[in-house]
């Protein structure tokens, strides 16, 4: 069974992003209020604005990091402009690499398949003995998405389309976005058959879906371009997000929070929604909800990535700036809230952090969480965590293809190299890269696709090699190489990344195959065309008036 390690990091990462504020409030002077209130705090974060550098290291020294800004839309968005009237929420999401793969495993692997010993198959179909693998959804839909979605309610169709066009034009002109329309869907009283007797909580709802045309790296830059460029963002190198094997960036814009809350409340009041939950969070009418007095525009932007192992046997400290590609000083917001939160694995003992000040920073060795209220610290050259711990050696997995592209019918040699970059040996190393033939029935695989090594010394490598012959053109996905090994009597699992391999069409071979397989008809047709061509050329040579004239 596939082991999940980094995925767990992302669970904590996202949950951490959500709970970070209350936790930090207990440590920092800026946010801590008399009598802590989650509602007050969240409203404060939205109205005053906040930014967060959140990072997590798993027990193999692999980092996950996310940077986000909350409630600080750039004035360039023009959220007060009439073109946003009726817009409930606009979201732009860009994902790259194995990010969605990881999220899907995170939210559903065991729950859907029932394969996990710790998680019962609560969502598996009763009639499906094998359960449903949520990863099959990603197999169908892919992993690279650059999507913009906007919802406009209670506006006539022509006005709605006009406003959407204005928004797109503004985003393109102001920030450099580029969009291609994918879907326009209008739901109103004419959409539903009259006999279903459903009363919509709105007069009309227009859903717009567009593809953002930039590749992921540019999409990340344009997303951050929408937000404030001061604070941490001024010193972060966004390349860390662009170059990671799994990353994502997103932007959520709510032109008027009150409008969104009103609509959600109308679902509940209509008795058609999950009454209670949304009201508890968002209710405004009775001033009891979590966001009862939050109105006006709200924007949230964030980008995150999963990195490669950075901590190993000799590591004793972690620089937060390194996780975000910071080269100079780290400068927080002066008027909003700047927070740094890091979660370390439980097998570490944190010895000190820098900078450290009472009520401005916090760490303990029970939760292994570290907080800095960066706004209070002001400009700092670095944020460092010193620790005692024992990570496994740095093990790298490299897979190369020769040639790197091919044509239909060609063969490529795949070489997988596992290297122990550390000084200590590892034992019982198992390498497996054998899923291609089961994924694509038309490929032929020969050679060694798995191997076991009793001991791999520090600095040593082991290699396996196999050949793949591709009958058809196409974009082939090589699943990650899986390895397991033992170090200090503990078994570790690691994997490389999904890699694509392109096989181009063989046009000549295709033509010849087509002709040969349909003989004699194709031969007759080609013969007729050829003979007429020869006849016409002869006529041209003789300069006949009724032939081709040039």
């Amino acid at each position: 069974m596939k082991k999940i390690r980094i995925e767990h990091a992302f669970v904590v990462l996202f949950i951490g992003f959500l709970v970070m504020a209350p936790l930090t409030a207990s440590a920092g002077h800026t946010l801590a209020q008399d009598g802590f209130s989650g509602e007050d705090l969240f409203q404060g974060l939205i109205t005053d604005g906040a930014e967060v550098m959140y990072s997590m290291i798993d027990d193999q020294g692999v980092p996950a990091a996310i940077y986000g800004q909350l409630g600080i839309p750039s004035s360039d968005l023009n959220l007060d402009d009439p073109m946003y009237e009726g817009s409930l929420a606009m979201a732009l999401v860009s994902t790259h690499g194995e990010f969605l793969d990881i999220i899907m495993e995170l939210i559903g692997g065991g729950a859907f398949t029932g394969n996990s010993s710790s998680t019962p198959a609560q969502f598996a179909l009763a009639q499906d003995s094998g359960g449903f693998d949520p990863n099959s959804i990603l197999d169908m839909v892919g992993t690279e998405f650059n999507l913009l979605a906007n919802v406009i309610v209670n506006v006539d169709e022509a006005t709605s389309q006009s406003r959407m066009a204005s928004i797109l034009n503004h985003l393109q002109a102001q920030f450099g976005f580029s969009f291609t329309e994918l879907l326009k869907l209008r739901i109103d009283e004419n959409t539903l058959p009259p006999d279903v007797n459903i009363t919509l909580p709105f007069t009309s709802m227009d859903l717009y879906l567009y593809k953002e045309n930039h590749e992921f790296g540019l999409a990340v830059d344009t997303i951050f371009g929408v937000m404030s460029s001061t604070g941490f963002l001024g010193s972060i190198n966004t390349d860390v997000f662009k170059n990671a094997f799994a990353s994502a960036a997103g932007l959520l814009v709510i032109p008027d929070m009150a409008d969104l809350v009103d609509l959600i409340e109308s679902f509940d009041s209509g008795g058609q929604g999950a009454a209670g939950f949304t009201s508890t969070i968002l209710a405004q009418g009775d001033s009891s909800g979590f966001l009862f007095n939050v109105t006006g525009p709200v924007a949230i932007a964030a980008a995150g990535y999963l990195g490669e192992q950075i901590l190993s046997t000799d590591s004793t400290s972690l620089s937060i700036g390194d996780l975000f590609g910071v080269t100079g000083n780290i400068e927080p917001f002066s008027s909003a809230n700047s927070l740094i939160v890091t979660q370390l694995p439980s097998n570490l003992n944190i010895t000190s952090i820098t900078p450290d000040a009472v009520n401005q920073s916090f760490y303990d060795n029970s939760t292994n969480m570290v907080f800095w209220n960066a706004t209070a610290f002001g400009t700092q050259s670095e944020y460092v965590i010193n620790f005692e711990g024992d990570f496994p050696p740095l093990i790298t997995i490299e897979r190369t293809f020769s040639p790197e592209e091919n044509i239909a019918g060609g063969t490529t040699t795949v070489t997988v190299t596992v290297t122990n970059e550390g000084s200590d040996p590892i034992s019982n190393l198992v390498i497996t890269d054998n899923t291609l033939a089961s994924t694509y029935s038309t490929v032929t695989v020969t050679g060694v696709t798995s191997d076991t090594v009793t001991t791999l010394a520090g600095g040593a490598s082991v290699t396996i090699e196999y050949q793949v012959t591709f009958q058809n053109e196409g974009g082939y996905g090589f699943d990650p190489v899986q390895i397991s090994y033992e170090y200090n009597s503990q078994t570790y699992y690691k994997q490389s990344h999904t890699e694509g391999y392109t096989v181009n069409p063989d046009i000549g071979g295709l033509f010849a195959e087509g002709v040969m397989s349909t003989m004699p008809f194709s031969g007759i047709a080609l013969g007729v065309v050829g003979l007429v061509g020869i006849y016409s050329i002869m006529g041209l040579v003789r300069s006949r008036n009724d032939t081709f004239q040039v």
């Binding site: 839909v141 239909a408 694509y440 591709f470 974009g475 082939y476 996905g477 392109t502 061509g533 016409s536």
Partner: protein, 189 residues
């Protein structure tokens, strides 16, 4: 029998349609081809090229409209007469239909493995497919039909077939009309 000018006009127009159609295939089709070819065989690409060439929604597939227009103009100019341009345009379109049928036939008889649907190739997603003009057109029509269901009636077959008919007829109309323009611009001496 004098048909050399029509022959060369037909050949030039067909080569333009096939060559430009192959090279300027919308990105979404390329994703579809990369996705399906490993299991469905090497004739997925020719089939998609011809589907894109034959089913043309003039409202969103501007590239293919332009290709047919250029092919028609060149073919008509070579043919040199309006009558010749009509014949060239018609035969170019019929030839494209024949090649589409041939591609589909080849797709069905050569190495198609329907056992498993391969995963989307790394670096792509299903949104690429939504960018295919034909897919967008079909979605638009389906949404229109969905609205029609609101009235309580059944499926209006005419509403289903009309856009399909328009998409099929568009290339032949474009290639013949531009062919006649070409023949007018450069009449046979």
């Amino acid at each position: 029998m004098a048909f050399g000018s029509k022959y060369f006009g037909w050949l030039a127009a067909l080569l333009i349609v096939l060559g430009a159609g192959w090279l300027l295939l919308p990105e979404g089709y390329n994703t579809l081809i990369l996705w399906l070819s490993p299991q469905l065989g090497n004739y997925v690409r020719p089939t998609m090229v011809m589907v894109n060439a034959i089913l043309v929604n003039p409202l969103n597939n501007y590239v293919m409209v332009a290709i047919w227009a250029v092919a028609g103009f060149v073919g008509g100019a070579i043919a040199g007469t309006k009558k010749g341009a009509f014949v060239v345009g018609l035969f170019t379109w019929l030839s494209a239909l024949l090649i589409l049928a041939f591609s589909v036939y080849q797709l069905l008889i050569t190495g198609m493995d329907l056992g498993t649907l391969p995963p989307m190739p790394p670096g792509t997603s299903i949104t690429d497919l939504l960018g295919i003009p034909l897919v967008q057109s079909i979605i638009g029509e389906l949404l229109g039909l969905l609205g029609g269901f609101g009235g309580g009636g059944g499926i209006d077959m005419l509403a289903v077939l009309t856009p399909l008919l328009i998409w099929v007829i568009t290339p032949v109309v474009v290639v013949i009309v531009t062919g006649m323009v070409g023949a007018t611009v450069r009449p046979k001496e």
